[in-house]
C-alpha cells in the first residue's frame, strides 16, 4: 500500500504538528519516582483518571476545588468489558496509560499478571488506610499477599434475598432462611403459579457470588503458580442445588438483563432474586408496577443459623504502572473512596455501595426505601458486607472463564448437560487459557 502509506506518513507528520500544542504539559515535572517508593512530586501535578462511573465529574470537581496542586482530569467511556479494559491494555503497551483507572475486582488479577498495576504498598497512607475498609474488599486488592496493594477498594456488592413480601404473605409461605427452605418454598411458589426466581444462565457473576457464599474458592496463587478449582466441593454443592431446581422446573431461565427478564418481575412471575445491593435499583427500574411490594432479607444459608453472605460485583481504583505521580494518584484514590462527601456523591450519582466500614452509615444508606415498603434495606446489606469471606480470589483470565462457563450454563438450562459439566469444562478451558498465556498453573 505504497501510495496511501506515503500520504499517511505525511498526514501523520502534520498530525504531530497539530497536536503538539495540546500534548506536552506535565512532562516538565521530571520526577522519576521508583515504583514502590511513593514519594510526593514537587510542584503542581495533573492526573488522568479513566472510569465509566456516571456523574464522576461532580465528584472529581469537589477534589479539584480543594486541591489546586493535584488536578484530576477524568475521562469516561464504555464499561470495562465493553472496551475500556482492552484500551487500558493497549495504552499500557504504548506507554500512555492514564494514572488511575477503574477496574472491577474480577479483572484486577488480569492486570496484575500483565504487570500493569503499581504496587501501592510503599505508600504509608495507603497501608494505614487498611482498617477503614471492609476486610474482604481489602483482600480483593491485595490478593491475600503480604506487602502488596494493587488498588483502593471502591464499591462492593454484598448479596441478599429480594422477595415479594405481598405474595409470600398471601400464599402463607415462610421467608426462607436456608437453601433447603428456599427449595421447599420454590415448590409452593410453583404451585401458586410463579417461579421462585430466574436462574442467570449467561451472567456467571451471580453464580460466582453464590459459590463464594458456599465456600467455593475458584482460584489461588501461591506466589509462583495459579491453582484453578472451578468445580471444588462447595461449588459442586451449589451447582447441584440449582441443577435440581432447574430439573424440577422450579426456576425460570429467561436471559438476564433483557426486557423479558424485567417483565417477569414486573408481572409477578418471578418472586425472589438473590442479588447484590445494586440489584435494588435494577428491580425499581425493571419492575415499576410492583412498587411497595418488595422486601429484603439476608441470603439463605447452607447451614441453619449461619451468617455467611456472597458478593456480586464491586470495583477498585487502581494506579497504572508508569504513572509519574503514584503518590498523588494514591492520595486521590484514597480520598475518592473514603471521604464521606465523595462516597455520598458516588452513591447519589451512580448508586455505588461503599467498600469502607464507615460508608455503610452514610445518611442515604440509613433511610427507608418506599419501593421496598419503607424498609431500611441497606441495613441488611451492611450486615451482609461484613459476612463476606475475605479469601476469595479471582483468576487472571476471567473473561474467557465466564465465556466458557456461560456457554455450558446455557446448554444446561436447555437440558444439554448439567451445570457441573459446564464448570468442569470451564475448568479445563481456563487451565488451557492460562497455559497459552504462559501463566504458570499448578495441575
Amino acid at each position: 500500500m505504497r501510495l496511501p502509506m506515503r500520504s499517511l506518513g505525511i498526514l501523520l507528520t502534520s498530525a504531530l504538528a497539530l497536536t503538539a500544542c495540546s500534548s506536552g504539559g506535565d512532562d516538565d515535572a521530571a520526577t522519576t519516582a521508583g515504583a514502590a517508593s511513593c514519594a510526593p512530586s514537587s510542584g503542581p501535578v495533573t492526573l488522568n483518571y479513566t472510569t465509566w462511573i456516571p456523574g464522576i465529574e461532580n465528584v472529581v470537581k469537589v477534589w479539584n476545588d480543594a486541591n489546586p496542586n493535584i488536578q484530576v482530569k477524568v475521562q469516561t467511556g464504555p464499561n470495562g468489558n465493553g472496551g475500556t479494559y482492552q484500551n487500558f491494555f493497549n495504552q499500557l503497551k504504548a506507554g500512555n496509560a492514564p494514572d488511575l483507572g477503574h477496574i472491577e475486582y474480577d479483572a484486577l488479577p488480569s492486570f496484575r499478571v500483565q504487570d500493569g498495576l503499581e504496587n501501592l504498598a510503599g505508600c504509608s497512607e495507603v497501608t494505614a488506610a487498611k482498617d477503614q475498609f471492609v476486610d474482604w474488599t481489602w483482600g480483593q486488592v491485595t490478593f491475600g499477599e503480604e506487602n502488596s496493594v494493587y488498588g483502593i477498594p471502591q464499591d462492593a456488592g454484598p448479596m441478599a434475598l429480594f422477595y415479594r413480601k405481598d405474595l409470600f404473605e398471601k400464599n402463607n409461605i415462610a421467608i426462607p432462611t436456608t437453601w433447603d427452605e428456599y427449595a421447599a418454598a420454590a415448590e409452593k411458589v410453583k404451585a401458586a403459579g410463579g417461579y421462585i426466581t430466574n436462574f442467570s444462565q449467561s451472567d456467571i457473576n451471580q453464580f460466582a457470588g453464590l459459590a463464594w457464599q458456599a465456600g467455593g474458592r475458584w482460584f489461588s496463587n501461591d506466589g509462583s503458580k495459579w491453582t484453578v478449582n472451578l468445580a471444588d466441593e462447595n461449588t459442586t454443592k451449589v451447582a447441584n442445588y440449582w441443577q435440581g431446581l432447574l430439573d424440577k422446573k422450579l426456576v425460570s431461565s429467561v436471559p438476564p438483563w433483557t426486557t423479558e427478564w424485567d417483565n417477569a418481575y414486573n408481572t409477578s412471575k418471578a418472586w425472589t432474586w438473590v442479588s447484590a445491593v445494586w440489584g435494588a435499583n435494577s428491580i425499581i427500574s425493571g419492575a415499576p408496577d410492583t412498587s411497595g411490594k418488595w422486601a429484603v432479607a439476608p441470603m439463605p444459608q447452607w447451614t441453619a443459623g449461619g451468617t455467611v453472605a456472597g458478593n456480586w460485583g464491586g470495583s477498585a481504583t487502581a494506579v497504572f504502572k508508569g504513572s509519574k505521580h503514584p503518590y498523588e494518584a494514591a492520595k486521590f484514590a484514597l480520598w475518592l473512596n473514603t471521604n464521606e462527601e465523595a462516597l455520598t456523591l458516588l452513591n447519589k450519582e451512580a448508586q455505588l455501595y461503599p467498600a469502607t466500614k464507615a460508608g455503610a452509615s452514610l445518611p442515604a444508606l440509613k433511610q427507608g426505601v418506599d419501593f421496598y415498603g419503607g424498609q431500611a434495606i441497606y441495613d441488611v446489606f451492611a450486615q451482609a458486607s461484613g459476612q463476606v469471606a475475605a479469601d476469595f480470589v479471582w483468576g487472571p483470565t476471567m473473561t474467557s472463564t465466564y465465556t466458557s462457563a456461560s456457554d455450558g450454563f446455557k446448554g444446561a438450562v436447555s437440558g444439554n448437560g448439567t451445570l457441573l459439566d459446564a464448570l468442569k469444562k470451564a475448568q479445563t478451558s481456563t487451565v488451557e487459557t492460562l497455559k497459552s498465556q504462559s501463566i504458570p498453573v499448578a495441575e
Binding site: L8, A15, Q75, G77, P78, G82, N90
Partner: protein, 278 residues
C-alpha cells in the same frame, strides 16, 4: 402481455424485502416513543402513550447535551473525512487512469490489495503509531486514518478511464490549461456521478468504523455518536434510565444517514450502473 401473476410476484418479493428492512426502523421509532415503564410491557410494534418528545428532551439535556456534541462530531468525522477522502481518491484514481508512469500498475495493485485489509485490523497498529506521536485521544487520531479509502481509488480509476476521454484532456492542454486546473474544472465534472458514489461509500464506511474511535478516544467530548451510544448501552444494567436515551439516540442518529442517501440517491444509482457496464 404479462400475466397478472407474473407481475405481482416480483412485487410480492419486493414487498417482503421492504417489510424486512423497514420493521427494525419501525420498531425503533415505536420504542423511542415510549416511556421507560411502558417499553417493557407494551406491544413492541405499536405505540403506547406518546412520549417521544420527553425522550428527546431528556436525550438532548443529559450530561450537558453531550449527545448533540456526538452528533456534531460524527458529522464532522464522517462528512469531513468523506469529502476530503473523495477528493484524494479521485485525484489518485485519475492520475492512475490518465497518466503513464513507471510502476503505475504496481501502485494500483497495491492499492487494490488495500481494499482487502479490514479497517478493524488496522485500528490497533494505528493506535500504537499515534501513541508514538503522542497524538491519541485527539480529533486527528480518528480523522486522519479515516481519509484513506483504497476502494475509492479503485472506483475513481475505473470511472476516469471510462468517462474522461483523452482527446478532451489534450484539447484542454492545447488551450493552455494546467493539469490541476483541467482536473478540477473538466475531469471532476465528468466523473461527478462516480464521486458521489465514492463519497457515499466512504461516508458509510467511516460512520460504521466503530473500533478506531473506541481504541483511540478517551475523551467523551470527542466521541462520534456510535461510540457514545455504545458506551451508554454498556451501562444500561447499572443505570436503566439510559435505555430510553440509547433508543431515542439511535433513532436520531440514523437521520443524517437517511438524509444523505435521499439527497444523493439519484447520483448513486447512476454511479453504480456505470461501473457495471464497464
Amino acid at each position: 402481455m404479462i400475466s397478472p401473476l407474473k407481475r405481482s410476484l416480483p412485487m410480492l418479493v419486493m414487498g417482503a424485502c421492504t417489510l424486512y428492512f423497514l420493521v427494525p426502523i419501525w420498531w425503533l421509532l415505536v420504542a423511542a416513543s415510549k416511556s421507560r415503564s411502558q417499553f417493557s410491557n407494551t406491544d413492541p410494534l405499536w405505540f403506547a402513550d406518546f412520549s417521544l418528545f420527553d425522550n428527546l428532551n431528556e436525550l438532548f439535556s443529559y450530561r450537558d447535551g453531550v449527545f448533540l456534541r456526538w452528533m456534531l462530531n460524527s458529522v464532522v468525522y464522517t462528512g469531513g473525512a468523506a469529502l476530503l477522502g473523495t477528493v484524494l481518491a479521485a485525484m489518485c484514481g485519475y492520475a492512475l487512469a490518465k497518466y503513464r508512469f513507471p510502476g503505475r500498475e504496481a501502485i494500483f495493485n497495491v492499492v487494490l490489495s488495500g481494499v482487502l485489509v479490514p479497517a478493524t485490523a488496522l485500528a490497533l497498529p494505528l493506535f500504537l503509531i499515534f501513541s508514538q506521536f503522542n497524538a491519541t485521544n485527539t480529533f486527528w487520531s480518528v480523522f486522519l486514518p479515516s481519509l484513506v479509502n483504497p476502494f475509492g481509488v479503485y472506483l475513481a480509476r475505473i470511472y476516469a478511464t471510462a468517462s474522461v476521454p483523452d482527446e478532451l484532456l489534450e484539447a484542454a492542454r492545447l488551450d493552455g490549461s494546467g493539469e490541476v486546473r483541467t482536473f478540477f474544472t473538466v475531469s471532476t465534472k465528468l466523473m461527478f456521478p462516480a464521486l458521489v458514489t465514492i463519497f457515499l461509500f466512504h461516508f458509510v464506511a467511516v460512520w460504521n468504523n466503530f473500533l478506531l474511535p473506541l481504541i483511540m478516544l478517551g475523551n467523551e467530548r470527542l466521541f462520534p455518536v456510535t461510540l457514545g451510544l455504545y458506551s451508554w448501552n454498556t451501562q444500561v444494567n447499572q443505570i436503566p434510565e439510559l435505555r430510553m436515551l440509547v433508543l431515542t439516540g439511535a433513532l436520531v442518529s440514523i437521520i443524517p444517514l437517511v438524509i444523505a442517501f435521499l439527497l444523493l440517491q439519484r447520483f448513486w444509482r447512476n454511479g453504480l450502473g456505470s461501473g457495471a457496464i464497464k
